[in-house]
């Protein structure tokens, strides 16, 4: 036991140091966003002045938070709805073109998002969705679909068919089966899909950057990024730190709560890889 302890100590020190490297940037930002620093709104004493100055930036933090929440919420709802019905259809029904359609959905993965944005910019203009948060949410949803449809298909396929059949015998329609029996059974899959959609939409930078040009409709990452260097060319590092924390906090909290589901998403995706 003693020899084991001697052997294990370097291991603990080494892995502990690694963990510190990974956690340090986040912790440091969190601490310094409320700590006194020259050149920020919080120049002496501890407090939340950086957050206050963040909240007064242009249209106000609440506006950007609301924009981000709208985009993320809409993306999550759309992704959940489409992948739920899509996954159900792919898993339970045989229809002509089923495999082709599924492949087509997965093919979205092949197209690099960054190179598509310029045609998308023009297309959304033609649809009258330029400069609109709904347009951003639609684009983000499309890029969530391959993973989420795949995930929901696996979730449905892992449920024994006898369950549907029993419900059918009891007089359920296929929508009834989905609603009453299957949705409770695929809930873990739905949580995974929703979590991934939220993280992607909340954090996305490129789509709003290109598709939105009215600063009142900026999402939070865009607003925080633009905030640097707009106050007479001087970067307000304190407010940027506060902005990063506002951006990161929901993600970290959700991640810690739902870590099991996050890992599950990788298991299903990578196993087929």
């Amino acid at each position: 036991m003693k020899a084991n302890l001697v052997l294990r100590t370097p291991f603990w020190v080494f892995t502990g140091a690694l963990a510190v490297i990974f956690l340090f940037p986040v912790v440091w930002t969190a601490v310094s966003s409320v700590s006194p620093q020259a050149g920020t709104s919080q120049s002496d004493g501890w407090g939340f002045a950086n957050y206050v100055s963040l909240s007064h930036y242009q249209a106000g933090i609440w506006r950007y938070l609301a924009n981000s929440a709208l985009v993320s919420g809409l993306t999550v709802v759309l992704t959940l709805g489409i992948s739920l019905l899509g996954g159900y259809a792919f898993a339970r029904f045989r229809f002509p073109g089923r495999n082709a359609l599924f492949l087509l959905t997965l093919a979205i993965l092949m197209v690099p998002y960054a190179t598509l944005l310029i045609p998308l910019y023009v297309l959304l203009n033609q649809l009258g969705l330029q400069n609109s948060l709904v347009g951003v949410a639609l684009v983000l949803t499309v890029f969530q679909l391959p993973f989420s449809t795949f995930m929901m298909r696996i979730s449905f396929e892992s449920i024994p068919r006898e369950l549907d059949e029993a419900a059918m015998v009891d007089g359920c329609t296929s929508f009834g089966v989905l609603w009453r029996v299957l949705i409770p059974a695929v809930k873990p899959g739905l949580i995974t899909v929703g979590l991934f959609a939220f993280l992607a939409a909340w954090n996305d930078f490129l789509a709003p950057l290109i598709l939105i040009n009215d600063s009142n409709r900026f999402t939070l990452p865009l607003a925080v990024s633009n905030m640097r260097g707009q106050v007479q060319g001087v970067v307000d590092y304190g407010a940027t730190e506060a902005g990063v924390m506002v951006l990161a906090l929901p993600c970290i909290v959700l991640f810690l709560l739902l870590q099991r589901h996050y890992v599950r998403g990788f298991m299903s995706g990578a196993l087929k890889g």
Binding site: L18, T29, S32, P112, I118, V244, A248, I252
Partner: protein, 254 residues
């Protein structure tokens, strides 16, 4: 679109076929950005694959401590790339960063020279994605049946032999997946450079996607040329991915 004269504000102005591609290739930053993007891709892919595998081996067994470690490594992956870039923007700043006094003392800076800027960005990316690749590697490692390792142990193989002769070959599908993901991701790098370096210093860190963005929305406002660039990037990506998969398959046959 890539064949049309298409300014940002006035829309489609008719065919402009070879010129768009000629203009795209002769852009002042085209060659530099291609070289820079390739360099960046090679560095990040090597680092992420190596580190991902290393971390995965480190936390493979499930004990309470290793579970905590996994969570610690994964937390950066929950942050968005944009938030992570902003975070490091402050961290690297010569005014507010925690290492600023030390760096100022030595007259060095994180983003001041081309090489330092590249290294700093690579560190940010490795920090953000190492946990993600660790997770992929863990999944791959779990797919290897334990009796193979037991057989090796019975045969008296050392740890290093087991790793070289058993773990690595059996992990090849996962390694293929991670390199394809990392190469594709790095070739399309944008946010980290857009936020952290703005392409500087001296336009040394312009990636291809950044070039597309600049051509389309900053200065030239030429969607046609930008689309031509995009088409070239897609073709190059497809070619690179096919080559990679073929290379993996060839080693499979040997």
């Amino acid at each position: 679109m890539s064949g049309s004269d298409w300014p940002l504000l006035s829309g489609d102005q008719g065919v402009n076929l070879p010129e768009n591609y000629q203009q795209a290739v002769s852009n002042r930053f085209f060659v530099d950005s291609v070289i820079f993007t390739l360099k960046y891709t090679v560095i990040t892919t090597a680092l992420l694959t190596g580190l991902g595998l290393g971390l995965a081996l480190l936390v493979q067994q499930s004990t309470r401590w290793k579970g905590l470690l996994r969570t610690a490594f994964l937390i950066p992956s929950a942050l968005g790339l944009a938030s992570a870039s902003l975070l490091f923007y402050v961290l690297y700043s010569p005014l507010a960063g925690p290492l600023a006094p030390v760096m100022n003392h030595f007259g060095a800076s994180f983003l001041g020279t081309p090489n330092a800027a590249l290294a700093s960005t690579v560190f940010l990316i490795v920090w953000r994605y190492a946990g993600f690749y660790m997770l992929l590697m863990l999944v791959g490692l779990q797919g290897i049946p334990t009796d193979v390792f037991e057989a090796a142990w019975v045969d008296g193989a050392t740890r290093w032999q087991t790793f070289r002769r058993i773990t690595l070959p059996l992990l090849r599908p996962t390694l293929a997946l991670t390199t394809v993901l990392s190469v594709t991701g790095s070739l399309l790098a944008f946010e980290q450079f857009y936020i952290l370096t703005k392409g500087g210093p001296d336009n040394s860190t312009i990636t291809i996607v950044e070039l597309i963005y600049n051509v389309a929305f900053q200065g030239q406002n030429d969607l046609g040329v930008a689309a031509a660039l995009s088409v070239m990037v897609v073709l190059a990506l497809v070619a690179i991915n096919v080559l990679q998969l073929r290379a993996v398959r060839r080693t499979d046959e040997n």
